[in-house]
């Protein structure tokens, strides 16, 4: 019963902040609303007993990606604080598309007979993830580090001021 209450509160925070993100007329306000959205998702991960992923989510999403988005907003046009129109002419069609997809996804996913497993998650997921990353999934680990290196170099080169 407590778990259901926690789930409802966290989902409400996540979805309400996401609505502010996608509909606000002020771009800084919608970037700032990303923080409660990500924190709500962190709470959902903790409910799913994935505490290491929750910690990394706060560290990277709420701490770094939000800061990056706010930086770019302040260094480009949004930093002037002028009120410009934020939505283009596709608003009715996109509402329709998103609503249709939502109905379809919820209808299919809620009714599908997913196989339920009987065993439980290991108690310390951090050490389990570490073992998995270095034994079974070491190729994923190495390729991800390579992608990070390439993205780092690419971002620096693309954003550099041409002399």
């Amino acid at each position: 019963m407590g778990e259901l209450a926690a789930f409802i509160i966290l989902s409400a925070i996540t979805l309400a902040s996401a609505v502010v993100v996608v509909t606000s007329g002020n771009i800084v306000r919608s970037a700032l609303s990303l923080v409660p959205t990500f924190l709500g998702v962190t709470g959902l991960y903790i409910l799913l007993q994935a505490e290491f992923v929750a910690g990394i989510q706060v560290l990277i999403y709420a701490g770094a990606i939000t800061v990056l988005i706010l930086f770019v907003i302040m260094l480009t046009e949004g930093g002037t604080g002028l009120r410009v129109r934020q939505t283009n002419e596709q608003v009715p069609l996109s509402i329709l598309a998103a609503a249709v997809l939502a109905v379809l996804l919820v209808g299919v996913l809620a009714q599908a007979p997913w196989p339920r497993a009987a065993e439980l998650l290991p108690q310390y997921t951090a050490s389990g993830i570490g073992e998995a990353l270095l034994t079974n999934l070491v190729l994923v680990f190495e390729v991800t580090s390579l992608v990070l290196l390439v993205a780092l170099m690419g971002a620096i080169i693309v954003a550099r001021r041409e002399r």
């Binding site: 407590g2 700032l32 910690g55 990394i56 701490g63 302040m74 930093g79 951090a126």
Partner: protein, 321 residues
């Protein structure tokens, strides 16, 4: 209905931690800063209010609380008012994973160290939007500089935390203190990580020598130029709480936490924490301020490679010894 009990316990502990911090960090910390600064500069600090100036912070707090709240007209009021709250709450949430004694911890998360780094990185969002929402060039520049400094120094901080977690074999802060019982304090085993942690912690809380974002001679007061009264007090509370949290984390990770021979554990913890706080304040009044490019060079070109090489060396020593 045990979840109701958990909520009551959480609220009670929140009030306890907040009171502890408001008294210890804000009051004693501000007073210590001014007294220690005075002694290092061959003068007496505040000495008129109360015996030996001990009630100075009470006077300061009353002064701040009764100041008028001024907001710039063109500032976005919702964001302007939320920014100090983010900084204060993130600085206070750090204290959940800090152990004061063998079972005196608010919650022993088994990702304690990652949680600490995550809360330290949430402060940046508050500072950035605080600088932006003031609608003032100097605040915006101060906010951007401060945010770039804090995110640059999160990486060496994380490498120091990773090295300690590797040595102890666990991410939980209680586990790290217990691991120091067997192998000795980590300040000897992991001395480079200790140095990197202290430098990165000083930069994370925007203290001298890394306080270019709030330098009076450069940027008026940086990102909190436009804040008055209670909001200014909230920013300061967040910064002091985070400085004390970094000192408390340094004692937990490196100086053996609460362990000590004769005195009760809480006294040992407070003694060690105040030792690190004294060290931080000593560096404040001794070193000149670093310029922004020197500061960023120090982080990216010196501390981050040093931290990564130290992780490699730690891994080597753990595997073979």
């Amino acid at each position: 209905m045990s979840w109701g009990l958990e909520i009551v316990k959480a609220v009670g502990l929140t009030i306890a931690v907040f009171t502890f911090l408001a008294v210890v960090a804000a009051m004693l910390g501000v007073l210590l800063e001014r007294k220690i600064g005075g002694w290092i500069q061959s003068r007496l600090g505040p000495k008129h209010v109360g015996p030996q100036g001990l009630l100075q912070t009470v006077a300061d707090t009353i002064k701040l609380l009764q100041k008028e709240h001024i907001a710039p007209r063109a500032a976005d009021t919702a964001i302007f008012n939320t920014a100090p709250l983010i900084v204060a709450v993130a600085g206070l949430l750090d204290w959940i994973v800090i152990p004061f004694g063998p079972n005196l911890i608010v919650r022993d998360l088994n990702i304690g160290v990652v949680f600490f780094a995550a809360m330290a990185s949430l402060t940046v969002v508050g500072i950035l939007v605080g600088g932006f929402a003031s609608n003032n060039k100097y605040s915006l520049l101060g906010g951007l500089r401060s945010a770039s400094q804090m995110i640059s120094y999160e990486l060496p901080l994380a490498t120091a935390l990773i090295a300690v977690a590797m040595q102890a074999g666990t991410l939980s802060t209680l586990g790290i203190v217990n691991a120091q019982a067997q192998r000795g304090w980590f300040v000897f085993l992991q001395f480079p990580a200790f140095v990197i942690f202290l430098i990165a912690a000083t930069a994370e809380v925007n203290r001298v020598p890394f306080d270019l974002p709030e330098a009076e001679s450069e940027l008026v007061a940086g990102y909190f130029s436009e804040y008055t009264g209670m909001r200014f007090a909230l920013f300061q509370l967040g910064e002091y709480a985070e400085m004390f949290a970094m000192a408390a984390m340094a004692t937990t990770l490196f100086l053996g936490g609460w362990r000590g021979p004769i005195l009760p554990p809480v006294i040992w913890f407070l003694l060690k924490m105040y030792l690190i706080v004294f060290l931080l304040m000593w560096t404040r009044w001794t070193f000149p301020r670093l310029r922004l490019d020197q500061l960023l060079n120090l982080s990216w070109k010196l501390l981050l490679p040093a931290g990564l090489i130290w992780i490699l060396i730690t891994g080597f020593f753990i595997t073979f010894f």
